[in-house]
Amino acid sequence: MNLRRDVFQAIADPTRRAILLLLASQAMTAGAIATNFDTARPTVSKHLQILTECALLEQKQNGREIYYTINAKNMKEVADFIEPFRKMWDDRFNKLEAIMKNYK
């Protein structure tokens, strides 16, 4: 088994998690991603390579630039990535319910 393909190993690294966080809201080039970190550009490239090998990221060619985006489908493998979204709404609705019970 190729360890590189283990998504859990991929997200165990704080820099790689930070990269996923950045890309959660927008597609970015490797250069733009690297400006967010103090580490050397080749180190960031290595992280991007690992995340891409794990299929957590996708590359999209746009002219001469390559943009990285999150591969949402594969993110589902990571402890069902939709769950935090559901939890966020459930917490919110629980609060709504508790508050409105006082209006009864």
């Binding site: 998690r17 930070a18 985006t69 709404w89 609705f93 409105m100």
Partner: protein, 155 residues
């Protein structure tokens, strides 16, 4: 504990369904969406404006502990039928996310229970998936920050 909120995100559709049943009369659930001071309490955001009527609009703003604005959202209201439905747009300002369209349906189940259906349409499938991934990424980051705090205390 099982979550009462259900999320239905079909693989190839740029939309999302959020459903939830409440132990509340439908009138109270609707009130929680219609009145600014109540929205503030459960959404945890400041409501700058909320005109709960057709052609109305709204503006939310959230600040962090330091007083800096970290979140701004706004939208317009297309339909406002008390205790039945709200149709509105939702836009997060200063983000790459496009405006989304939201259909909220309030359904009476019994005198004291009701159901909320939120149908959200996104500009693209990719945008929907990024929106879904947002709390996941934030969760990861928060977990990481907590870990960092714990490690710093060990130093």
């Amino acid at each position: 504990m099982e979550l009462k909120t259900k999320i239905n995100a079909e693989k190839d559709k740029q939309e999302l369904m959020i459903t939830r049943e409440f132990d509340l009369p439908v009138e109270l659930l609707f009130k929680a969406y219609a009145e600014a001071d109540i929205v503030e309490q459960w959404m945890g955001t400041k409501v700058l404006k909320l005109e709960s009527k057709k052609y109305g609009s709204y503006q939310f703003e959230t600040s962090n502990a330091q007083g800096n604005v970290v979140f701004k959202a706004n939208g317009v209201i297309h339909e406002f039928v008390p205790n039945q439905k709200i149709t509105r747009t939702f836009e997060m300002e200063n983000t790459p996310f496009a405006t989304q369209l939201e259909f909220l349906e309030f359904e009476k189940l019994t005198e004291n229970t009701c159901k909320l259906n939120i149908h959200i349409i996104y500009k693209s499938l990719a945008l929907r998936d990024q929106m879904l991934a947002l709390p996941f990424a934030q969760g990861l980051n928060m977990a990481h920050n907590r870990l960092q705090d714990v490690v710093n205390q060990l130093k």
